[in-house]
């Protein structure tokens, strides 16, 4: 029985613009999580740690990060196999050329590479990526090698299947997975754990250990792979410390306080929450995103607010705003502006202006 801990898309030293000032903390968090993965591999007596691309976010990680990575991997009592991904691709300037890899760390450097691990009766094969935009099939020329009992293929790319992450670059055809004849195909590049086994060949994306964008709501996993005569088992293990989520909040009829309460109900200090306000806003009530954000942001790892709620012009009762009055003239002019808006921002500004003006004319303390 051979046990492999499969991870990918760690993205050490990635920038996190969506996190703002918390970006540095998140980079630190990713390092800690990677350290936890390494520790897990040692503590749980895995036979091999397999990294299926994008260990680094680019080829210029800091010296600290390089030192951190090397020290963690060198300390492991097990071999490590690394496939360069599209972010840390293997060109002449690659970070891997500058790293003095410890003896237990092996790099899949050739296209194709076949790395035998005789003590494990295992061969690992894969094609490292040599440039960011690479259209060559990632499992090209990878087929089972009978020199060892176990044959594991590794690839970093996009499964050519319909879905939210469909992309043509770095293609991995389903048939190519089947054609490898491998006992297991370790996939990387997609940040969500997913099973893309084909024709009896087990193939999985391990998922990213931590989210690297606000849209990644299913990250935080590695794959635990067991190769045994009894069969191949693949189990996702939760290792991430930070979770990302999305909330669509219908603000129709809700006051600002109610909106704040609804967001606070989702609060968690390790949670990245992407809140989108939807529904209809009243003409005379302003939902101030700044106020909502200031009231709720500190309860989250990161909070992002988007206002996609619309004014619902058809909902505005003309009798409430007779045309003979200033407010009636004003509402009608802005209704025209909203209707004629050419982009989302212009529409949003006009809607807010309508709300602001009506609220001011009604004597609300909105300024």
């Amino acid at each position: 029985m051979t046990r492999i801990l499969h991870t990918a898309d760690v993205h050490l030293d990635a920038p996190f613009h969506f996190l703002g000032e918390k970006g540095a903390a998140h980079r630190q968090q990713i390092r800690q999580t990677f350290g936890r993965i390494a520790a897990l591999a040692a503590e749980e007596h895995y036979d091999l740690l397999l990294i299926a691309g994008d260990l680094f976010n680019d080829n210029h990680p800091s010296r600290d990060t390089q030192h951190f990575m090397l020290s963690r991997l060198a300390a492991l009592p097990l071999p490590v196999c690394i496939l360069p991904g599209n972010h840390d691709f293997l060109d002449r300037h690659s970070v891997y050329h500058r790293l003095a890899l410890p003896p237990n760390v092996h790099l899949l450097a050739e296209r194709p590479s076949y790395l035998p691990f005789p003590e494990l009766d295992l061969t690992i094969a894969g094609n490292p990526i040599h440039k960011y935009f690479d259209d060559t099939p990632q499992l090209k020329s990878i087929s089972r090698d009978d020199s060892s009992r176990w044959f594991v293929a590794v690839a970093h790319g996009n499964m050519q299947v319909p879905g939210p992450f469909a992309a043509t670059s770095r293609p991995i055809e389903p048939q190519a997975i089947a054609d490898t004849g491998a006992d297991y195909v370790a996939l990387g590049d997609w940040h969500t754990f997913a099973d893309y086994s084909q024709a009896g060949v087990r193939a999985y994306y391990s998922g990213a250990p931590e989210p690297t964008s606000i849209a990644q709501t299913k990250t935080g996993t590695v794959s635990s792979v067991t190769l045994s005569e009894n069969g191949i088992s693949v189990t996702p293990l939760q290792v991430g410390a930070v979770s990302a989520g999305a909330l669509e909040l219908d603000v129709t009829g809700l006051s600002e306080a109610e909106v704040i309460a609804a967001i606070q109900a989702q609060a968690a200090s390790n949670r990245i929450l992407n809140v989108t306000l939807t529904g209809l806003k009243a003409a005379d009530s302003l939902l101030d995103l700044e106020t909502i954000y200031e009231a709720t942001a500190s309860d989250f790892y990161r909070l992002q607010l988007k206002d996609k709620a619309t004014l619902g012009l058809e909902q505005i009762e003309p009798n409430e705003f007779p045309e003979a009055f200033v407010v009636g003239q004003y509402v009608r002019m802005l209704a025209d502006r909203i209707t004629e808006a050419t982009d989302e921002r212009e529409q949003r500004v006009a809607e807010q202006a309508l709300q602001l003006g009506v609220a001011l004319l009604k004597g609300h303390k909105v300024l």
Binding site: D13, P15, F16, H17, F18, L19, G20, E21, K22, G23, A24, R27, H60, P61, S62, D64, H93, H97, R98, L289, E290, N319, E320, F321, P322, A324, F325, V326, V327, G328, Q329, Y330, M333, L334, R337, R345, R348, V349, A350, Q352, A353, L356, G357, L360, L361, K362, G363, L367
Partner: protein, 955 residues
């Protein structure tokens, strides 16, 4: 529109209340908390509200009731059609009973009907226009609100007494605060400036960090490449260096071999030269021995003998020159004697000429002294003459100057006299005309007097005839004054005139003579005397003629009467009524004769005769200058040059020198000087060769010796043989197979690699030091980028917020302008109409500007406008009510909705209250008014509706 009745169930404090409304003024009376405001609200909700159950409508449910309320309102339209509108909030339903149609529950149908009858379906519009609250007038009266502001609040459509200008001001403030520090720096910038500045700061930071990190990464890359290259160089350089070292050893041994072989050869050559020099020294020594004593002579000895021979030769040449000079001396001495004789003859002639010349010179000096004395006398005489003539010339010059001034005055006089003559001619012409007129008058007057005489005579005759007959004796005195005085006889007059004419001519001639004397003789006094006499004679004789008739004056003539002639009675009768009229005396101009210019007086000095001094002018003609002698003094003759000197020569010096030379040659065993010189030169040649060979030998040996040279030659020979043996070793034999080109290439390559290695080592060290410093880490760059992203988002949000503010401001301002403009156009005339009625014609005209500010025609000062704040409080209330009513007309042009007054006059004094009640009564004739009040002040007017629990007042 008119409200007919309302039925209310479970609405606030009105659990079951029904009342009817009359046309005109309805006074709904009750104390506070009696339900007036509830009824007011019930009326509004019955008309406008949807029968929905929500927070707002729940406020009006009766306390303790389980059911929601029901409102039923009956009203009529302008044509008198009656409608019944029921709103059941308990069931959430409503229905409207329409005349001649039936019942409808359709919301749209109900609202349309209400809008048709009432003029609006907007509760806001209805509430803010036809409902006049108590506090609205109070605010105007208290000055808390201006009428314009209150009107704008209404047309704004606010529910909370907000007017648009107020909202715009708030927006202005918000925009200003938001933009603070955006265009100009501020200590505390607003959000827009703050986020913009932060974004700019971070962008610069990121740019700097990125450049630094990029540079660091390039350095890392360069360091890596340097390390790799160093490794490559090390691998290539090791074998090349080994081969290079063998080749170099080969080269060194070959050089040693060559060096020792060359040394051996050089030493052998040197030894050969040493031996040759030694042989030359020995040969010279043998030659000197053959020359005997001569070798003892020094060069000084030989030179002395030669000098002596040279001195003898010079003495012999000197003696030959002496002989030649002696012959020349003899010739010059003869010449000298001849020139001395010539000189003595010339000297004698010179002395004779000199004596003659000195005599002539003395005569000339004497004549010259006489001449100078004569000239001195002449100059003294001339000075005396000039001194005597100076006063005369001065007086003559003064006379000439005065005469010129006089001539100028005379010219002016001539010009003035010419002008005078022109004026005199004009005067005479005018005077002639006047004389003619006067003559005509006198003739006419004479005729008149004649007719008058006739008339008076005739009248006297008539009177006489009327009195009874002619009385000549009585009439004679009357006729006497009328008789004309007879003039002098013609003969006497002619004689006088002739004499006067002669005198005039005589005077004129004397005057002309005077002028001629003045002009020609320039003798002033006689001329003036003649002129004065002439003019006096002329004027004396001509004056009577100039004044007119010289015989009879006008006065005398005017006193004379015409002679009367007797007329026939019938003639008298015919002319009795025709008294002659005196002729009109011609108007004579006062003519002034021009005044003759005054003749200028000649200067007195010009008339004086100046006497020249009686001094004879001296003449220089007798003085003649002597002539200097022309001959020059003779020149003395030149003395001859001195006689020549005789030359000398010493014969003994020559003989002594010859004897000394002979003696010396004998001493040196030589017969002649040539023999001495030849033998001495031969000895010198042997000594030279010997010295040259010795010098060469010393140069070859130096401090060494021939034995030492031999020893060194043997050592060099041994070293050469050793190098030969090394060169025959196998490894050097291999290195010797390198061609020179290959060897050079190898050296060049090793040098290149060495240079490159040195540079790379330096570069590696430099990069390592630089990278160890690392001013900016990649982590810092990432953090700056992330902060920049946050700043960009914040700036975008701020920009969007200011866009919202500015769009709100823009369109709110536009909406306000449009609305107020429309209100301005129609509110003025309507307000004036209502105000005139409310003030019973006191205020007739009202003007409203674009800001709804109202001005009134000042009744106390026609043509002047007055602003509301200067009106009395009562007038302000009336104006406000008029404007409100006009506003209702403006907003409800077709319908006449009822006016709901919520006790607006509660704080009025009795006088103003009476005026207000009159106003309401007046207004109630045209539309329905619902006056909600807790006061008894309206008991005597209108239809009264008493709230539950209120007792009617006895009239």
């Amino acid at each position: 529109m008119q409200l007919e009745s309302i039925h209310v169930e479970r609405f606030g404090c009105l659990h079951d209340f029904t009342t009817t409304f009359a046309p005109g003024l309805n006074v709904i009376r009750g104390p506070n908390e009696s339900g007036k405001s509830t009824l007011h609200q019930a009326l509004l909700m019955a008309l406008m509200a949807l029968p929905n159950q929500n927070k707002t409508t729940a406020e009006w449910c009766s306390w303790g009731s389980q059911q929601w309320y029901l409102l039923q309102l009956t009203f009529t339209d302008a044509e008198g059609n009656q409608y019944q509108l029921t709103k059941d909030f308990d069931h959430g339903s409503q229905e409207l009973v329409l005349p001649n149609v039936g019942t409808t529950r359709s919301r749209e149908h109900i609202e349309e009907t209400v809008e048709t009858v009432l003029g609006t379906r907007s509760l806001l519009m209805f509430q803010s226009t036809v409902c006049v609250r108590q506090d609205s007038l109070d605010r105007i009266a208290d000055g808390r609100t201006e009428i314009a502001q209150s009107l704008e609040t209404i047309v704004t459509g606010s529910e909370d007494d907000v007017y648009t200008a107020q909202a715009l001001k708030r927006l202005d403030n918000a925009i200003r605060d938001f933009r603070k520090g955006f265009s100009r720096t501020a200590a505390q910038p607003g959000p827009l400036g703050r986020t913009r500045d932060e974004q700019i700061r971070l962008e610069r930071l990121v740019t700097n960090y990125a450049a630094t990190v990029q540079s660091q990464e390039a350095d890392e890359q360069a360091l890596e490449e340097a390390k790799n290259r160093l490794a490559e160089i090390g691998e290539e350089l090791t074998p090349l260096t080994a081969t290079w070292e063998q080749a170099n050893r080969l080269r060194e041994v070959q050089a040693d071999f060559k060096k020792w072989a060359e040394a051996e050869q050089a030493l052998e050559s040197k030894l050969s030269q040493v031996r040759s020099a030694q042989r030359e020294i020995d040969d010279a020594k043998a030659g000197l021995q053959t020359l005997g004593n001569i070798t003892q002579l020094t060069e000084s000895d030989v030179r002395k003998a030669n000098d002596l021979a040279s001195r003898i030769k010079a003495l012999q040449e000197e003696r030959a020159n002496y002989e030649t000079a002696l012959e020349e001396y003899e010739r010059e001495l003869a010449d000298h004697r001849r020139r001395q004789a010539d000189y003595e003859l010339a000297q004698a002639a010179y002395e004779t000429q000199m004596a003659t010349h000195e005599e002539a010179q003395a005569n000339y000096q004497e004549a010259m002294e006489a001449y100078q004395a004569a000239v001195g006398q002449y100059e003294q005489d001339l000075a005396a003459y000039q001194e005597a003539w100076r006063p005369y010339e001065q007086a003559l010059a003064n006379q000439r100057g005065e005469s010129e001034e006089y001539q100028s005055q005379l010219e002016t006089y001539r010009q003035e006299y010419a002008a005078y003559e022109v004026e005199l001619a004009e005067y005479e012409r005018a005077k002639g005309e006047q004389d003619e007129l006067l003559a005509e008058y006198e003739q006419a007057y004479e005729a008149y007097e004649q007719k008058l005489t006739e008339y008076e005579n005739h009248r006297a005759e008539v009177e006489q005839s009327d009195a009874g007959g002619d009385v000549p004796g009585q009439r004679q005195p009357a006729a006497q004054p009328a008789q004309k005085r007879k003039p002098s006889g013609p003969t006497e007059t002619t004689q006088v005139s002739a004499i006067r004419l002669v005198l005039i001519v005589f005077g004129m001639m004397i005057a002309i003579t005077g002028v001629l004397v003045l002009a020609l003789a320039r003798s002033f006094l006689p001329a003036v005397a003649l002129l004065v006499v002439g003019i006096a004679v002329f004027l004396a004789s001509a004056w009577p003629m100039l004044r007119g008739n010289g015989n009879v004056s006008q006065k005398d003539r005017s006193k004379s009467e015409p002679a009367r002639a007797k007329l026939a009675p019938e003639q008298l009768q015919a002319t009795i009524l025709e008294r002659p009229k005196a002729p009109e005396r011609p108007k004579l101009l006062l003519l002034t004769a021009p005044r003759s210019p005054v003749l200028p007086q000649p200067p007195v000095s010009t008339s004086e005769k100046l006497l020249a001094p009686d001094v004879q002018r001296p003449s220089p003609r007798d003085i003649s200058k002597p002539v200097a002698p022309t001959e020059k003094a003779p020149l003395p003759p030149q003395p001859p040059p001195p006689p020549p000197t005789r030359p000398n020569f010493d014969e003994q010096r020559l003989a002594a020198a010859v004897a000394e030379l002979q003696e010396r040659l004998e001493t040196m065993d030589c017969s002649t000087l040539a023999e001495l010189n030849s033998r001495f030169a031969e000895a010198e040649a042997f000594r030279g060769r010997q010295n040259t060979a010795r010098s060469r030998l010393e140069g070859l040996l130096g401090d060494s010796t021939v034995e030492a040279l031999e020893q060194r030659r043997r050592e060099a020979s041994r070293q050469r043989r050793d190098a030969q043996e090394i060169l025959e070793e196998p490894q050097l034999q291999q290195a010797s197979r390198l061609t020179p080109i290959t060897y050079n290439h190898l050296g060049t390559r090793i040098t290149q690699l060495g240079t490159e290695k040195t540079e790379l080592l330096e570069k590696r060290q430099r990069l390592q030091i630089k990278l160890e410093q690392q001013p900016i880490s990649r982590e810092q760059l990432l953090q700056a980028e992330e902060a920049l992203e946050s700043a960009r988002l914040a700036n975008a949000r701020a920009q969007e917020r200011i866009d919202v503010y500015e769009l709100t401001h823009e369109l709110l301002g536009l909406a306000r302008t449009r609305t107020l403009k429309r209100a301005q156009e129609r509110l003025g005339p309507q307000t004036a109409g209502y105000l005139g009625r409310l003030t019973r014609g006191r205020y007739q005209d009202a003007w409203i500007d674009s800001e709804l500010n109202i001005e009134l025609q000042d009744p106390a000062a026609p043509g002047q406008r007055v602003k509301p704040q200067y009106l009395s409080r009562g007038a302000q209330d009336q104006l406000y009510m008029a404007a409100r009513l006009a506003l209702v007309d403006l907003l409800f042009p077709q319908t006449r909705p009822p006016i709901l007054l919520d006790d607006p006059f509660v704080h009025f004094d009795p006088e103003r209250l009476a005026a207000a009640v009159d106003m309401c009564c007046d207004l109630a004739e045209e539309r329905q008014i619902l006056l909600f009040t807790c006061s008894d002040n309206y008991n005597h007017v209108g239809h009264h509706i008493l709230m539950p629990g209120v007792q009617p007042v006895e009239s």
